[in-house]
């Protein structure tokens, strides 16, 4: 009989793990994984050498529910760099630091319909990049992160990631160095923004932090936990730690909804109907508010820079589990029953 709180926690964890292993949702994910593993379209990102060496067969599929249940199949523990999926999280950190009004004055919230690396779509009149999900906006957002020096800023960034994923995260140094030495386009965007007075003078500092945030190593399970944290009002459903001030969750999720999938955002919002963010490392996370978070990792990308299997997985999960935010015709899926 449980007597101490530790024993009760152990028992609760055992019961939770057993239920997760026996859940029809795990069986569903396994079948979905088998089906999508056969998809051979796309190719890993090649714009930096470190990403091009990813194994195209890697495929991890994870779901974490807002009540803390965790399901995963395939390469769920394979680390990869988070890339652009870091953008909404750093945007949240900027909001916590400066408040909504100031951040809005520095970075807009308007979708561009352009590709992730689009160069010149800078709104010169308003002196701000269109949104925090394209590279220009993300670099401007990184420039808003405060700290005594670059180490301090990095520490703040890593502490934020730790709150989201529930463990210490690392920056992949070889990817960081690779991004830093070959990121001419991003460097050009940053200098253009400096020229227009959109960011402060410390361009290199902002770029370094941006390259570091993109080079943080995560797993598909981590992405599911992050997405579930956002779906859960900013509180990590497993550690119960708050990762984002509750008032800014709506900002982050609405930006993910309108801008998270680059020039695929409109079709995504229509067909999948969930706030999501993809990264060229092969990751995609999607949040079903109040329900769950999805994390997918599969390096082969389509022409728009989104993971091919990742998109198919999110489409299937949203459809099969009835997660589209504006679909009022669906009953709760029995797959989500406890």
């Amino acid at each position: 009989m449980p007597s101490t709180s530790t024993q009760r926690d152990d028992l609760a964890a055992l019961v939770r793990d057993t239920k997760a292993a026996a859940s029809p949702l795990r069986t569903y994910l396994k079948e979905l994984h088998e089906r999508l593993a056969a998809v051979r379209d796309g190719a890993p990102a090649s714009y930096i050498p470190e990403l091009a060496i990813a194994n195209p067969d890697w495929f991890g599929l994870s779901i974490v529910t807002c009540d803390g249940r965790s399901y995963g199949v395939g390469d769920c523990e394979q680390p990869f760099t988070i890339q652009s999926i870091s953008k909404p999280l750093v945007y949240g950190l900027a909001l916590e630091t400066h408040g909504r009004d100031y951040v809005l004055s520095r970075v807009g919230v308007e979708p561009t319909g352009d590709a992730f690396n689009s160069l010149i779509r800078l709104d010169e009149k308003s002196k701000r990049p269109h949104n925090p999900m394209v590279n220009a906006g993300a670099i401007a957002t990184a420039s808003l992160i405060r700290g005594s020096d670059s180490t301090d800023r990095l520490k703040k960034l890593l502490a934020m990631f730790r709150r989201y994923v529930g463990r210490e995260v690392q920056v992949d140094m070889s990817v960081f160095v690779s991004e830093r030495t070959t990121g001419h386009r991003n460097r050009a965007i940053a200098h253009l923004m400096l020229n227009f007075g959109m960011i402060d003078a410390d361009v290199d500092g902002a770029l370094d932090l941006y390259f570091q945030q993109c080079s943080v190593l995560v797993t598909s399970r981590d992405l599911a936990v992050i997405a579930a944290t956002l779906a859960n009002g900013g509180v990590n459903p497993i550690t119960k730690e708050r990762a984002l001030d509750a008032q800014y969750v709506r900002d982050v999720l609405s930006l993910m909804y309108t801008c998270g999938m680059y020039d695929y955002a409109g079709e995504w919002a229509h067909s999948v109907g969930l706030p999501a963010k993809s990264g060229v490392g092969g990751g995609i996370m999607a949040s079903a508010p109040g329900k769950l978070g999805v994390g997918v990792f599969s390096p082969p990308l389509d022409a728009r820079g989104n993971s091919v299997r990742g998109i198919k997985a999110c489409q299937a999960i949203s459809g099969d589990l009835g997660l589209h935010m504006f679909d009022g015709t669906r009953d709760p899926s029995p797959l989500l029953a406890k």
Binding site: M1, A12, A21, T27
Partner: protein, 251 residues
């Protein structure tokens, strides 16, 4: 009707495997397609009651768990002739009795999710009306998983203080795992005990219905697992009691 039924006891020696074989046979005698899976990987044994020995077991649950065969390939048709006459069927999925394979499971473990898939797959592929799981005594991963996918759980206990304590642990976990239906079977009750009093005591103690109170029967002991008692001695009073339990479980 219940599809997946775990039969469990917290301690060994309660007669769990013997009862599982007999209850399964009785259910099959009602014309049902029944499966029995031995998830007692560490100490398998139920195959003996169906006359199987090491030579007869080509593929076992172990092979499936290691991804070396499908779950149906580890299933043996052991339908006894009286069951065939009634239109029923009995399939057995044994665990390996080879010491090396038992050691390998203990050392290497296996993907527990695969066990769950296997249990559900068996019901589907063999078109089973009912799958009985003969679990490992006590609590381990297989047992917890078996319970959590089961539509019903029968816990076997003897009228013994050690069994009483252990059963409380099993009942608590089964409640936490939200097993839809639970029942107790008190087995090996000495002739001197009042069966009615035992039933009342146990039901009150656990708040779980008692499906049967079975006597310690010399005839069963004498058979010594050389066959399925209810098939050998269908007219024995004990066989009648086990049939009644089977009817309760599959009702």
């Amino acid at each position: 009707m219940a599809k997946i039924v775990s039969i469990h006891s917290f301690r060994g020696g309660t007669g769990k495997s013997n009862l599982t074989a007999n209850i399964s046979a009785c259910a099959a005698l009602r014309g049902r397609r029944v499966g029995i899976i031995d998830t007692d990987i560490q100490s398998p044994g139920i195959h003996v009651l169906f006359g199987m020995d090491e030579q007869h077991i080509d593929r076992a649950l172990n092979d499936y768990l290691w991804g070396q065969c499908s779950i149906e390939q580890a299933a043996y048709d052991v339908t006894p002739s009286p069951v065939t006459d009634k239109g029923g069927a009995v399939y057995l999925i044994p665990s390996s009795i080879k010491s090396g394979e038992i050691a390998r499971v203990l050392r290497e473990g296996y993907d527990v999710g695969r066990l769950v898939d296997g249990l559900r797959g068996l019901v589907e592929h063999l078109r089973l009306d009912c799958l009985f799981i003969d679990t490992h005594p006590g609590l381990n991963e297989e047992t917890l998983l078996s319970m959590s996918v089961s539509d019903a759980l029968a816990v076997v206990l003897r009228p013994d203080s050690q069994d009483y304590q252990g059963t409380a642990v099993t009942v608590e976990l089964a409640r936490r795992l939200e097993v839809p239906r639970m029942m107790l079977i008190v087995n090996k009750v000495p002739a001197a005990f009042d069966a009615g009093a035992v039933r009342e005591k146990v039901e009150t103690a656990y708040g779980v219905p008692v499906a049967g109170v079975l006597p310690l029967a010399d005839d069963m002991v004498r058979l010594a697992s050389a066959g399925v008692f209810c098939l050998r001695f269908p007219d024995h009073p004990l066989a009648g009691q086990i049939r009644a339990i089977a009817d309760v479980i599959v009702s």
